[in-house]
């Protein structure tokens, strides 16, 4: 870790004055001794929520392979996320492997999705076996989320039993 090269540096421009009018000397966030300590949301430039729909903790992300227009604008963790996501990677795994709080990873991932560098890996249930008594009003199988997908749950069950 190299404190001088913190990609979250913009926070420095905005973050310090916000508190400066308090008791001087008591609330100094940054000084020479602070070293690499960066408040968790500095790297997200203070945003604690992603721009779009919040991503689930087990959302699987995958790099689109597109090149960033301005690589220099990416925070270092974002570059590492892109590298890891050359293979599908769940958000929880990214947070754990990069040792960053989940909330931070979620905001950074949101940016990468917005800029088309990452994609959400969608789960589409494999062609469901049509059940004879299927209700005509039932939603098409492809829209079933994984946790309600009976075929998937059955597979999980079989494999857990066999572990």
């Amino acid at each position: 870790m190299d404190p001088g090269d913190t990609p979250g540096a913009p926070a420095r421009d905005h973050g310090v004055p916000a508190r400066d009018h308090g008791a001087p000397g008591r609330e100094r966030w940054l000084d020479a001794a602070a070293g690499p300590i960066v408040r968790p949301y500095a790297v997200t430039r203070g945003r604690t929520r992603p721009s779009g729909e919040p991503l689930d903790i087990v959302t699987i992300l995958v790099a689109t392979g597109r090149r960033p227009a301005e690589p220099g604008r990416l925070a270092r963790p974002q570059r590492r996320m892109l590298a890891l996501c050359r293979r599908p990677y769940a958000l929880a795994d990214l947070a754990s492997d990069l040792d960053l709080p989940f909330g931070v990873i979620r905001v950074l991932a949101g940016d990468l999705l917005d800029s088309g560098l990452l994609d959400v890996q969608r789960w589409s249930a494999p062609a469901a076996v049509p059940s004879p008594g299927a209700d005509a009003a039932a939603p098409p199988p492809a829209t079933v989320p994984p946790h309600l997908d009976q075929n998937l749950l059955r597979r999980v069950l079989d494999e857990l039993r066999a572990l």
Partner: protein, 208 residues
């Protein structure tokens, strides 16, 4: 399905080992229960525990003031979770989250229970009260759950029917005894949960 996603020149050959391919679909299971009831032990018995923390910004009103001034006024709270992954075949991954039980962490539960396969409520017969809050929570959310009583050596043994009565649990909710230290036992708990979730997914009277 996007097929035009590899124009990266340094993209390595696709690895043959499908574990290296990463998950294609992920399912969440929550492990809830009071402090010291064995959540970490249970997660560790079936998967490798890895650290996961989240530093959540809490606002007084819960509204999103999403600028930096807002952040300065927010408190952040760190939540450390026990987190493990069971990797199954064909890119199916099951994620286990041992969640802190205190009410102040319930914002995290909301996050985790959305779209969850289900939850394991771990209980200790010496402190059954500690499981009430979790049970209430999952009942309200409609999250499938099982109650697993971790059998500590120095605790009195009760049979599942007695525990069901003491906790006032619906007859359809599985209640089982377990030893969270043993892989086989922890696995049985998960199997029972998935069976239960499957019944509910196939049943008629349940929404989302």
């Amino acid at each position: 399905m996007s097929s035009a996603r590899s124009n990266s020149p340094e993209a390595p050959e696709a690895p043959a080992d499908e574990r290296l391919d990463g998950p294609r679909v992920a399912l969440k299971i929550l492990v809830a229960g009071g402090f010291g009831v064995g959540k970490t032990t249970l997660v560790g018995a079936v998967s490798e525990i890895r650290p996961l923390r989240t530093e959540e910004a809490l606002t007084d009103v819960g509204s999103a003031v999403d600028d930096l001034d807002g952040v300065a006024a927010k408190t952040t709270t760190t939540v450390a979770m026990d987190f493990g992954r069971i990797t199954l075949r064909d890119g199916v991954a099951v994620y286990l989250f041992g969640t802190p039980g205190q009410e102040r962490f319930w914002f995290m539960w909301n996050e985790l229970s959305r779209g969850a396969l289900g939850a394991v409520v771990l209980a200790d017969t010496r402190r059954l009260m500690a499981s009430f809050a979790s049970i209430d929570y999952f009942e309200r959310k409609g999250t499938p759950f099982v109650v697993a009583v971790n059998c500590f050596e120095d605790a009195d043994r009760y049979e599942p029917p007695e525990i069901r009565t003491a906790l006032d649990i619906d007859p359809h909710v599985p209640v089982l005894l377990c030893d969270a230290r043993r892989t086989g036992s922890a696995k049985e708990v998960l199997v029972s949960l998935v069976e239960h979730a499957l019944r509910l997914a196939g049943g008629s009277g349940r929404r989302g």
